[in-house]
């Protein structure tokens, strides 16, 4: 019967893994990161840059400046990537011309 044959045929084909091995575009990772930080900020401040630094994470040059500035922890908990040109570039271009260390948008490009 044709329908049984169709069923067997599909079951044979379905053994093939369809998942693509293509990596996610850096632009997409950048966009997801920005959206996730934005969502985190909606329920309160981010962990401060002092805390991130203490945990051994590398900060970017702008984050370092904020961290060593004589400002309170509240200011160091702001999502400063939101006003950074690196974010805008990384979300729009696959190979954004940003090259400094410690920037997650650069990491996405290199991963």
């Amino acid at each position: 019967m044709a329908s049984d044959q169709d069923e067997r045929f599909m079951q044979g084909i379905a053994d093939v893994d369809l998942t693509a091995s293509e990596p996610a575009p850096a632009r997409l990772k950048a966009r997801v990161y920005s959206a996730l930080l934005q969502r985190q900020v909606e329920t309160g401040p981010l962990a401060s840059l002092t805390e991130s630094h203490r945990c051994g994470h590398e900060l970017c040059v702008f984050e370092q400046l904020v961290r060593i500035s004589p400002v309170g922890e509240t200011a160091k908990s702001l999502n400063i990537c939101r006003v950074c040109h690196a974010r805008v570039l990384a979300e729009s271009m696959e190979n954004a011309p940003i090259f400094w260390n410690g920037c997650p948008y650069v990491e996405f490009k290199n991963s």
């Binding site: 045929f9 079951q11 084909i13 996610a24 575009p25 966009r31 996730l36 985190q40 996405f108």
Partner: protein, 200 residues
């Protein structure tokens, strides 16, 4: 005495290094550490993207939105991650749910396709597809044939055969009857096999 790496009976089992690493990452992301959040995305974005892209093909325009939804949803429910399985498996579980939601919405809204008489005489099934073609070729051809099908046929087939959903489950989730889903699957299978055998 027991040698290193062996567990004595009754001795509490130490968590695997991956589990410790996963738990640490989860705690840091929940603590809103931005660098941990970046690492979370770096670790799993490729796997989520590959999976979603495969399941939504050829509608690549919807892939990026869905990938983003997966991560936002993961963040919303991350506090419920208990570490009983790997974090990757947990994230991929969310991706599967999101893909299923997509199928459900698309199939629920779909108009029936009138493609005439079914069960027309097709060449006999090729019994061992994998013996005739290399796996890569089969994958490529499967992609091509799926992409050429009407959307509801494609979604129904992928949902049923690659996601392993039963017709009953699909019916419940789309608000259609099981019979209607079985008819849809039957038409989709016939169409798929016809296009496969006839080079689309």
């Amino acid at each position: 005495m027991h040698s290193l790496g062996q567990q004595a009976p009754g001795e509490p089992q130490a968590p695997a290094p991956q589990a410790v690493e996963d738990s640490a990452l989860v705690a840091a992301v929940l603590g809103k550490d931005r660098k941990a959040t970046a690492e979370f995305i770096s670790r799993y974005a490729d796997a989520v993207y590959g999976y979603v892209r495969a399941r939504l093909a050829p509608r690549h325009d919807q892939v990026e939105d869905l990938v983003q939804e997966v991560f936002l949803s993961a963040w919303e429910s991350l506090s419920r991650y208990r570490g009983t399985g790997s974090l990757e498996a947990w994230v991929m579980g969310i991706a599967r749910h999101k893909v299923e939601d997509h199928y459900r919405e698309r199939l629920r809204a779909a108009e029936p396709i009138n493609d005439g008489d079914q069960g027309s005489a097709l060449p006999a099934v090729q019994p061992a597809v994998h013996q005739l073609l290399e796996e890569d070729q089969v994958r490529k051809k499967t992609w091509q044939v799926l992409a050429s099908l009407p959307e509801q046929y494609r979604l129904a087939l992928v949902w049923r055969y690659w996601e392993g959903a039963s017709a009953r489950d699909m019916a419940l989730k789309t608000g259609k009857t099981e019979k209607a889903i079985e008819r849809l699957l039957a038409r989709a299978r016939t169409e798929f096999r016809g296009r496969w055998n006839h080079g689309q």
